[in-house]
């Protein structure tokens, strides 16, 4: 299980970080493949197969392949390409929504009640920030430049904070499992 959370953590880290030198040095599609393997491993703890979640992860891995080549300049040059990051964000939010179903099941299996509270807390904050940001972004494309810039900065900052919080949560979950732990 520790290894499963480790794959989730590294996978989401790949998706979060973008080092673009000609291509993205931490490709998103590699991240989603790692997330898929992590989910596959963690799903063994539950009676459900989480097929929807796995399929969604594969879809995201495929859809995020162009992101390997695209940088901000190329995206800005094409009007329709500027909506591609929004599509990726939307699919990722849906993925995380379903992922938390699995994470709650695992949190309930652990002896610490605080784990379930922490899981729910990070879930609600993650959804609030990301869904709120997706909603706001739809309006700022028609907003004056100064409002667009201010709101964009706010969205980026909140987005960064919640993504880091989510990564910290995954890392903490990983640490809750010792290397030899067996959970029935």
């Amino acid at each position: 299980m520790r290894s499963g959370f480790k794959k989730l953590f590294i996978g989401f880290l790949f998706v979060f970080l973008k080092f673009h030198i000609i291509v993205d040095l931490l490709p998103d599609f590699i991240g989603y493949i790692l997330i898929y393997n992590g989910i596959k491993q963690l799903a063994t703890l539950s009676s459900q197969s989480y097929d929807k979640l796995k399929v969604l992860t594969i879809v995201l891995a495929v859809v995020s392949v162009p992101n390997f080549f695209l940088n901000d300049q190329i995206i800005q040059q094409s009007e329709w390409l500027s909506y591609y990051p929004v599509l990726l964000s939307l699919l990722k939010v849906i993925l995380v929504y379903y992922l938390f179903d699995l994470l709650r099941v695992i949190a309930k299996l652990l002896p610490f009640e605080e784990t379930l509270h922490a899981t729910n807390r990070i879930f609600y904050w993650y959804m609030a920030v990301n869904l709120g940001s997706l909603l706001c972004q739809s309006f700022i494309i028609n907003a004056p430049m100064d409002i667009m810039l201010s709101v964009s900065v706010l969205i980026v900052v909140l987005g960064l904070i919640i993504e880091i919080a989510f990564l910290v949560y995954l890392r903490n979950m990983q640490k809750r499992f010792s290397k030899d732990e067996i959970i029935e």
Binding site: Q73, E79, V86, L90, I94, S138, I141, N142, M145
Partner: protein, 299 residues
């Protein structure tokens, strides 16, 4: 729990769809260069401007102007670093567009080419994205200044916030001035009121107050209502108040010098050049009207 999530996703998708449609409906397929009327004196280096609208999210600048086959570069062409949208130079910002300004300077040799006979339907604007757009120019005349005898001085002039300009004039000797004639194309866009003070005491203050009054409340006769010829004495002051008519159908940049002629008591012909300009300061409604006109012509 799943219900609320999918409802929110539906709302997000709906908002995106509506906003994208609205955004697309406001996009220009190509920049719009405002109609232009230029009738100015030339010198060793003669400058004039053009104004144009572009989409905010397209980093496009007017690169050069082609007149009768000759090409002149825009001195105001400012391409922002890395094509950064927010670093564009503009005159006015609107919801989805920028109003930008292009400036051209012609040397005497260039003027020779231009004044060979400008075919006003043979002027094209070249943009940095490769688009070439015909520019509607009602007049482009840059002619050498004729020797004029002027007995006028201009103690002060104003540009006001409500789309107006004003100039205060005094004469050195008694003069009888002919009616001011504005070209038809200028009359469509500019109004002119004339005020004469028979005593110059306190005129500066009175002039400033009138210049800052709204056009409708400015208590001076229109130039067409003045009794011509206008007799002006050295103790008198004459103020000319210009106002740009706010029109949704015709938006034009005007830069022109209009001679105002008259005679002194001893029969000497005098002339004073009145500078008429209309650098555009548009409202969102005017931009919307330009957009609709552009789309209507494209259909």
């Amino acid at each position: 729990m799943k219900n609320w999530f999918w409802r929110i996703i539906s709302v997000i998708l709906l908002c995106w769809t509506v906003n994208i449609f609205y955004y697309q409906s406001k996009q220009l397929e190509e920049p719009i260069v405002l109609d232009t009327y230029i009738d100015m004196p030339s010198s060793e280096q003669t400058s004039f401007k053009l104004f144009y609208l572009t989409n905010k999210n397209d980093v496009i600048e007017l690169d050069s102007l082609q007149i009768n086959g000759y090409t002149y570069s825009n001195e105001n062409s400012w391409f922002p670093w890395f094509g950064e949208l927010s670093a564009q130079a503009y005159r006015q910002e609107f919801s989805h567009h920028f109003l930008k300004e292009a400036s051209f300077t012609l040397t005497e040799e260039d003027l020779g080419n231009v004044n060979e006979g400008v075919q006003t339907n043979n002027i094209f604007a070249h943009f940095t994205n490769g688009q070439i757009i015909p520019v509607k120019v009602d007049k482009l005349a840059l002619t050498p200044i004729a020797e004029e005898v002027s007995i006028f001085s201009s103690p002060s002039s104003f540009s006001t916030n409500n789309h107006g300009e004003a100039v205060l004039l005094k004469v050195e000797e008694p003069v009888s001035m002919n009616p001011i004639e504005l070209p038809d194309l200028v009359q469509q866009h500019k109004d002119l009121k004339v005020m004469v003070w028979k005593d110059s005491k306190g005129v500066s203050t009175a002039f400033s107050e009138l210049a800052n009054t709204s056009w409708d409340q400015l208590d001076a006769p229109l130039y067409t209502e003045v009794t011509w010829p206008l007799q002006i004495e050295p103790v008198d002051s004459v103020a000319l108040f210009f106002h740009t008519k706010e029109s949704l159908n015709e938006i034009k940049f005007i830069s022109a010098l209009q001679p105002w002629t008259g005679k002194t008591l001893d029969g000497k012909v005098v002339s004073h050049d009145i500078y008429i300009k209309n650098e555009p300061w548009l409202t969102q409604k005017q931009v919307n009207a330009l957009l609709e006109k552009a789309r209507g012509e494209a259909k």
